[in-house]
């Protein structure tokens, strides 16, 4: 594959447990503020673990008149509100038919299904249970009349969405693309991960020898993508390469050798037209499950080769939990902010090194370092893998 046209990341918007705009999100990542708390929005007393990265109150939007009573939609709209505050998207800027929306999710509107089946609210609530409902609601809120896509490569969805959005621009399917990911905390997903015994009662400790699992979080993260020639103003950075691959190994566990993730990383670097020697920084999936972190470390060593020990790698999931469909987009935004501000957020709660995880994970405090080229990796159920190559502006 040859080098493709760079796609500009013009603006971004986030709704997270550690901040409901980019500034708050970034400063929380740097200072180590925690978004983890006891979940209050629905009952968790019967679960082994009832903590997560819950957003206690959506503060950005005061009136929800035009927005369905669907939490996933509201997280997306809140993130979109920040996005359009930076980069207005009215008809004067882009013909509505040329504005596309591509969002990734692991859960879609499943909470609407839970509520409808429990007899809460009107029957039409069931329609909101379709996984593409929140994305469609977002497109309507934005006034976008171009293609509206929902991708669901599990917890790699936020990477796949950005990649497909970039391809849509390169091929003239749209002139601007709002792309990203979202997922919410609800009983459905908390019960599921609780049953799988994937949730930790301890802190989330990516790459730490004592790591014992993940915590979930909820978030929405969106970026505005444009062809480089159309970016028009100082962008946050560029999306250079993407790949999403399948392991073909197991329905819920990653391939023990990480072959699919390695393939994704190599394809993304090839699409970007760069080599492993060009990678300055890696944003790892880093869920803090024993298996994930060991596999990911081994893959990064193979992909980066002899330079691997000297390339900083971080995981931000200890700060706000694993935000599933939003995670990869949040991490992509983090990579670009690291380039802009010359700081790499630390991997929180990494205190006891694991001999099998022996890369430079930026433990403790933020590090002064300005990455130009970043690699972001993601994994998910179904053997889904995602890799993005991002370039700072």
């Amino acid at each position: 594959m040859s080098r493709l046209e760079r796609v500009a990341v013009v603006a971004a918007g986030v709704t997270t447990p550690i901040g409901q705009d980019l500034d708050a999100f970034w400063s929380s990542l740097l200072t180590g503020a925690s978004g983890i708390s006891t979940i209050e929005r629905f009952p968790v007393a019967d679960l082994r673990v009832g903590r997560g990265g819950e957003i206690k109150k959506l503060t950005r939007i005061k009136r929800w008149d035009r927005v369905p009573d669907c939490r996933a939609t509201r997280l997306l709209v809140s993130a979109a509100d920040e996005l359009i505050a930076q980069a207005p998207l009215g008809p004067a800027v882009v013909e509505p038919a040329r504005l596309a929306v591509v969002v990734g999710t692991a859960l879609g509107g499943v909470e609407e299904g839970e509520r409808a089946l429990a007899g809460e609210g009107p029957r039409r609530r069931l329609r909101g249970a379709l996984y593409d409902s929140p994305g469609d609601n977002l497109a309507r809120w934005l006034g976008a009349r171009g293609p509206a896509l929902t991708v669901s490569t599990a917890c790699a969805s936020g990477a796949t969405a950005l990649g497909i959005g970039a391809d849509m621009l390169r091929q003239g399917q749209a002139d601007l693309v709002v792309a990203g990911g979202y997922d919410i905390l609800c009983r459905f997903v908390m019960r599921g991960f609780d049953a799988l015994r994937s949730l930790t009662r301890d802190e989330v400790r990516p790459f730490d020898k004592r790591r014992s699992g993940l915590l979930l979080g909820e978030a929405a993260a969106l970026v505005l993508l444009a062809r480089e020639a159309d970016a028009g103003r100082a962008p946050l950075g560029y999306l250079r390469g993407h790949a999403s691959t399948g392991d073909g190994s197991h329905i819920s566990a990653p391939d023990p050798d990480g072959r699919g993730l390695e393939h994704a990383a190599r394809l993304a670097l090839a699409e970007a037209g760069v080599g492993p020697e060009d990678v300055d920084f890696v944003s790892a999936h880093g869920t803090a499950t024993p298996l994930n972190d060991r596999i990911e470390t081994a893959v990064l060593k193979r992909v980066l080769g002899p330079r691997a020990p000297s390339v900083p790698v971080n995981s931000i999931k200890a700060t706000m939990g694993h935000t599933m469909g939003a995670a990869a987009t949040l991490e992509a935004i983090m990579c670009l902010l690291a380039g802009r501000h010359g700081q790499i957020p630390p991997t929180r709660h990494l205190e006891v090194p694991d001999p099998e995880c022996d890369l430079d994970y930026v433990p403790g405090t933020a590090r002064a370092f300005r990455p130009r080229l970043s690699l972001s990796t993601s994994l998910g159920f179904g053997g889904c893998n995602g890799a993005l190559v991002l370039e700072s502006a």
Binding site: M1, L4, A97, R98, A106, V110, G113, E114, L117, R123, L126, R127, A129, L130, Y131, D132, D136, R145, G146, P147, A148, L149, T150, V151, S152, T153, A154, T160, I164, D167, Q171, G172, Q173, A174, F188, R191, G192, F193, A195, L196, A243, S244, T245, G246, D247, G248, S249, H250, I251, S252, R259, G260, H263, L267, E271, F381, G382, G383, C384, N385
Partner: protein, 268 residues
Amino acid sequence: MSQAAGIPAPSVRAAGLCSAWGAGAAAVPADARAAAAGRSLLGLGRPALQGERFRRATRECLWALAAVEAMLEDGRAERGAIAGDRTALLFVSAAVYGASNRAFIEGTGGGTHFAYTAPAVIPAEAAIEYRLRGPSVLLIGGPPAALRAMWYAATLLAARACDRALVLGVETFEECADLYARARRRTAPPLVEAAACLWLEPGDGRLVLRSGRGGSRPDGARRLGDMLAVGPLAEVALRRHEGHPDPLGLTGAWRGEVANLIITKGAG
């Protein structure tokens, strides 16, 4: 309609279709509504696949495998021909996850069932069975999502990210039949459970995908019934069966979007 420049079109090496009408495209009736004889939903049941690995798998996963098997049969190919990291797998569905989600929500699925609520697990079962380890994408939506999956397959082939691309779709409805009965206005009965898989390879034409808002619902469902996202894939299988190996034009509508995928031959 949004305009889009064409990209090199893939050719259809093989197509597999399993539907409630019966095995393959030959079973598709001339008129779905007449053949349904008043039934609003036609179910597929559970395919009889042997093997311990399939004991816990949901029937939608098994139909995904059955569609790939039907595709291999149509292409007279062994499974080894598609194995490896040079085969892309693109999965599309509007609502196939409904059955598993409902079972988990209502407590009939059990804790270990949770993994099956992820739509990604359906193509994963096919990927495991056929050792598909290449690029993989999953789109959720109706017929336009299927057309966009074909477009993305063409994109991956044109970029040489893979040598072949499988576009797989599955839709099942029976477990949520009561819910679909409530939403009958949203679908075009009869709802027909189906799974289909296309094997695409680099071709010599051009592929153009256009989409827009509004317009009338295409009547592709007249013969097939409403298969949601599987509809366009089934239509390709049907055309192939009837002697039109390359789809020249496919239309799909969903949530107000109408998408057209056009393949012209020989201009590549």
